[in-house]
Symmetry: C2
Subunit: 259 residues, 2 copies
């Protein structure tokens, strides 16, 4: 059984990819909708929230946990992984590997939340694997609220303006590869791609899903998926549909402060 | 001693007003920065968070509590007020009274977070006081992240575009008065005012501050102010300065999940 958690529903983009690759697997998804977003929180509070999210998934008997949250993966995952026997997989390593394989000129862009970029996690792992790589990292804190409020159409002037602002240093650097270090960002990949023609976009959630699917033996069981959230599950189906490309699912509520 | 709480730091606009009116008063402010924003949360979780916020302030021995949060004031305050002996003042009643006094044509606009507008609290209280008033309510969920990310300059194209979108129904209605039903919104009052020339803007936090100052006897003590937040207080001073018009203050951390 694979556990997946995220600050909210963005991680459903990773679940979707994983479910496609492992249709016979059992999944438990937790979205911390009562405390979303994580991208502007401190190191200390992120550690607390991540531990609670993991502890809840452990009660479900999961064999591996995907932290489908760029912020948790970047800021605290390496630090807390040693506390658990269940393997914790984040979204950083797989997307760094894919970016290094994709780049021709060694210039790699990284975008994520404020906390993700401040942590420097993507840049450090890229440089550790390839010392001569050049990394241009930019925080894009408004992308999450823009996506969550439906400003996602390819011709949306507001999101295009904000994105042009954020992506200017990436464009100027000549990067040929860009890591979307937040699971909300693939939803506006069109807008990002239009501003950076010819640049290979790596979705960190999808990359992590591919890495888990490779390592994890496909279960013989009939596939199943359970969804949990920390705020009311009312309207979960509507919002989830955006991230699941139209599929309708329902969720149950969990009091995450108890974990 | 006056307790003030908000989902984050927007309520500092109300504190600032109150501190100006009652310079010899003692204040305790709590901002729930570990769980901000409240505007998209459910009724159930808002009730839980509001109770924890109030319970924390009660440990400080406050005589009255201002819920300087449009969402809490609209969605749950009336429901939970009976649970407490300490008086709870929200931002709805005072701004409704000021709007009714200000309007000439009886058409009043209300803007707030998604949860505030869904609750219908402002509209219900306006209609209860004046049945023939016409109320036009619009949720503006992107204003909070725009303000928090510094998109606040009067000529900011992004915020102007979003605001023009949100405020179109207010403009079309012919409203002569607009309640800013969220403590973040006064920060972009310039942009809102430019789009609605001649319309009287009522800041709900400032209106509530004026109402409390009127009812509350000024203390003889030397004034003091203490600030608490639920996430790390690092950088609190920088962000707080935006809401306090330049004043520098520091904050302590409180584990709000324990209350």
């Amino acid at each position: 059984m694979i556990g997946i958690f995220d600050s909210g529903l963005g991680g459903l983009t990773a679940y979707r990819e994983l479910h496609k690759l492992l249709p016979n697997e059992q999944f438990v998804y937790f979205g911390d909708t009562g405390r979303v977003p994580y991208g502007s929180r401190s190191h200390e509070i992120l550690k607390k929230y991540a531990r609670q999210d993991i502890d809840f998934l452990r009660t479900k008997g999961v064999d591996v946990i995907l932290a489908a949250c760029g912020t948790v993966s970047s800021v605290v995952l390496d630090e807390i992984a040693a506390e658990y026997t269940v393997p914790l997989v984040g979204v950083v390593d797989a997307s760094v590997a894919e970016a290094l394989a994709a780049t021709q000129n060694g210039i790699i862009g990284v975008i994520g939340t404020g906390a993700t970029i401040s942590s420097g996690a993507f840049a450090k792992k890229i440089k550790a694997a390839r010392a001569d790589a050049q990394v241009v990292s930019v925080a894009c804190p408004l992308f999450v609220p823009l996506v969550e409020n439906g400003y996602i159409q390819r011709d949306c002037t507001v999101t295009k303006l904000v994105a042009a602002d954020y992506l200017a240093p990436i464009k100027a650097s000549g990067a040929d590869t860009l890591i979307l270090g937040c699971t909300h960002f693939p939803i506006i990949a069109d807008i990002i791609g239009d501003l950076l023609p010819g640049v290979t976009l790596i979705s960190s959630g999808a990359a992590a899903a591919r890495a888990i699917a490779k390592e994890y033996p496909t279960s013989d069981a009939v596939g199943s998926s359970e969804f949990f959230v920390s705020d009311s599950p009312v309207n979960f189906d509507e919002v989830a549909r955006v991230f699941l490309g139209g599929e309708t699912v329902t969720a149950k509520k969990v009091d995450i402060e108890k974990y």
